[in-house]
């Protein structure tokens, strides 16, 4: 296949795919650490890049019924977690569009502070 395009969110503390070290997201995108996946602890992130998505599935979780897609690494196709597409309960709406990465399937790494004039990254 061709050279897979991988983008990079930047940030000073990165989360990488445990299998191939493709950068996925960073600490500033972390919303909550109190989630559980198949392998144990899992984190909820706002934006994550370099993912592939599966077909949408209806799952019943501890917090209720959700429509989710499994996510895997774009580079090596290793399973990483899932993304919430739809939450049936109002109180769970905040998860929609956000990604769960299982702690055991990602690695944390230090990186440098981004110098972005004007602050925010776009998109």
């Amino acid at each position: 296949m061709g050279r897979i395009f991988l983008s990079h969110l930047g940030g000073s503390r990165l989360f990488l795919c445990a299998n191939c070290e493709t950068p996925l997201t960073n600490r500033t995108e972390l919303i909550s650490t109190r989630f559980t996946g198949a392998t144990g602890r899992a984190f909820l992130f706002n934006r994550v890049v370099n993912l592939c998505f599966s077909e949408v599935q209806d799952r019943v979780m501890l917090t209720g019924r959700h429509m989710v897609r499994d996510v895997s690494c774009k580079n090596c196709e290793a399973k990483l977690g899932w993304v919430y597409e739809f939450a049936t309960e109002e109180s769970q709406r905040y998860k929609e569009g956000r990604v769960i990465l299982e702690r055991a399937l990602v690695t944390e790494a230090e990186s440098f502070e981004d110098k972005v004039s004007g602050g925010e990254n776009n998109n």
Binding site: G2, R3, H8, E21, S111, E113, K115, N122
Partner: protein
């Protein structure tokens, strides 16, 4: 004799209308009736039917039957014919159509200027001024121009005294600016007329300089009075230019009218345009990720997933390549190839995680040196400076180096995750696309940087055209965008390309860099004209994603595309293939086999 009707007091024009044309009794100079304020709008005069000398009846157009634009066209034709010297046709035209081709005052002015009767010219102008309300500055300008001509002619004739007189009595009262007076006086010092001509840049007394004077006078007069010089040709050139502009495949550089027939609309066929596969290079066993022609267009390099770098020699006659070297060394695959501007060296970079940039000597095929700063570097893209002695390299882990041709890192820029690099021709500015969807300009010498443009989705790759006015950017999932660099604005988004997963490269190219080509995940090569969003050609042939395209910088008809199907295709105009068959060249068959 021409009759002078209307009592408007115009002297009968002396040049345009031939007295003895045999059309006596024709009232076309009854022009008074149709020219109320003396300015001819091409208005025509009622004319009666007349018998021509040989007894046939010439039907004359009634003025009222011609619309205004028809009258203007007749005036243009009259001017064109007069310029060619076909004077009798001109009068015939004037008579038959009943149109005055030029206002009597204007033709009088013309005649006086060409005859050099300067006092009469002056009075003509004054007359015109009162009618046309020419502003007094313009009037002064015109008089100065006339006096200058008169003065120069006197000098040429050796009448220095009269020239000086003219200066004193006529020029000075008009209060021209001092520079002008000084200039004019200096001509008095000239010893010969050649000197005068040289200093004043004047072509000498005669029709040429007087004609030029007339043209400059015309600039102050409304065009309804005197048709601007060469007006018909000007209009035709505009039309030809428009046809050329609209021609999507246009490849010629001659001035439009020279190469075009006026009889039909100009449309370039696709014949000069690369549309057919001239050669398929199957030397690679793996996906070919990158391809690039050398700046001199004589060589071509491809880089594949298995790290093999293949260099070819280009045959510009037959639009084919011959393999020169197959080189290995970049173990993770070749993600980027950069030719030095002198076409002597090649830089290769690997994909994410590759810490080495290898410099190859093109002629010998030897590795000249490697750049390897640290093991965990990731250098995925590079670009040479114009002096061919330094280059920049960078990657998404935040490494951004400036190196010299011996492989030493001479400068570093911290904190930028580099996705693409282009060095500008001023040898200092480097454009870099980063992970924040921006392109910024960096100057390693004084460590300054500034923003060029901001996109909203990740930038995969970008390139800049020869004039450095436009940038072509491949945006992940969004397509190909064209930006104007000086104004920092998005000009166009090109439609059609599919890019959702892989890194795709695009390029400027073709005649005058008027075209844009890009690879695509749907196996086609897309080509657009820079001025239009819709593609003008989609080249079929590859069976998998086309990763990279590159246009030969010196040969507008040659385009190369590299694909995941392991082949590189060379595209050429149809005419090269047909000539090949004519010559009985079957070699092309052999070259496609491994």
């Amino acid at each position: 004799m021409q009759t002078n009707g209307g009592g408007l007091g115009y002297p009968a024009p002396e040049d345009d209308f031939d007295h003895h044309s045999g059309m006596d009794g024709v009232d076309d100079c009854d022009g008074g009736g149709g020219v109320p304020n003396g300015v001819s709008n091409g208005e025509c005069v009622p004319a009666a039917a007349v018998s021509s000398p040989d007894g046939g009846t010439v039907v004359e157009t009634k003025a009222s039957m011609l619309t205004r634009s028809q009258q203007e066209v007749i005036r243009l034709i009259g001017q064109f014919l007069r310029n060619l010297g076909l004077n009798r046709t001109v009068e015939q035209l004037a008579t038959e159509s009943g149109c005055i081709l030029e206002d009597p005052t204007a033709s009088q002015l013309r005649q006086h200027v060409m005859d050099g009767k300067w006092e009469k010219v002056d009075s003509d102008i004054l007359q015109l001024q009162s009618i046309l309300s020419v502003s007094s500055e313009n009037l002064t300008e015109m008089r100065l121009l006339i006096l200058e001509q008169k003065y120069l002619e006197m000098l040429e004739d050796g009448k220095a005294h009269e020239a000086l007189d003219c200066l004193r009595k006529h020029v000075t009262p008009l209060k021209p600016n001092n520079e002008k007076v000084r200039q004019l006086t200096s001509y008095l010092m000239c010893s010969s007329s050649e000197d005068v001509r040289r200093l004043a840049k004047w072509s000498g007394k005669g029709a040429a300089s007087r004609g030029k004077l007339l043209e400059s006078l015309q600039a102050f007069l409304p065009s309804s009075l005197m048709v601007p010089p060469q007006r018909l040709m000007t209009l035709l050139n505009q039309a030809a230019q428009r046809q050329v502009d609209q021609c999507m495949f246009h490849c010629y550089s001659d001035s439009p009218l020279d190469s075009m027939s006026l009889l039909t609309d100009h449309v370039c066929s696709k014949e000069q345009f690369p549309c057919v596969t001239a050669q398929i290079l199957t030397d690679s066993t793996e996906d070919v990720w990158f391809c690039r022609f050398s700046p001199d267009g004589a060589k071509f390099a491809t880089g594949a997933k298995d790290g093999s770098l293949i260099i070819y020699d280009v045959d510009k006659e037959s639009y084919t390549m011959k393999k020169k070297h197959t080189l290995a060394g970049q173990n993770n695959g070749i993600a980027h190839i950069s030719w030095s501007p002198d076409s002597a060296y090649i830089l290769t970079c690997g994909p994410e995680g590759s810490s080495e940039v290898i410099i190859w000597n093109v002629e010998t095929g030897q590795q000249k040196t490697k750049v390897m700063q640290a093991n965990d570097d990731s250098l995925t893209t590079a670009s040479w400076h114009r002096d061919s002695s330094r280059f920049v390299a960078g990657g998404t882990k935040g490494h951004f180096y400036q190196c010299n041709v011996d492989g030493n890192v001479v400068a570093t820029w911290e904190g930028i995750r580099v996705q693409g690099l282009v060095c500008l021709s001023d040898d200092r500015t480097v454009l870099a696309a980063d992970s924040h969807h921006r392109i910024r300009a960096y100057n390693f010498e004084d460590h300054t940087d500034f923003e060029i443009l901001q996109e909203h989705y990740p930038i995969m790759s970008f390139t800049v055209n020869e004039s450095e006015q436009r940038a072509l950017i491949n945006i992940a999932t969004q397509g190909v965008h064209l930006w104007d660099l000086p104004s920092k604005s998005l000009v166009r988004k090109f439609i059609g390309v599919t890019q959702t997963f892989y890194t795709i490269h695009s390029c400027f190219g073709g005649f005058n860099e008027n075209f844009v080509a890009s690879g695509s995940e749907d196996c086609l090569v897309y080509i657009w004209h820079v001025k239009g969003e819709e593609s003008i050609a989609k080249l079929e042939g590859h069976t998998r994603t086309v990763n990279c395209v590159h246009w030969n910088p010196t040969l507008p008809g040659m385009l190369a595309s590299a694909s995941d199907d392991g082949t590189v295709r060379i595209w050429a105009p149809e005419s090269t293939l047909s000539s090949r068959i004519v010559d009985g060249m079957q070699e092309s068959e052999d070259q496609t086999q491994l």
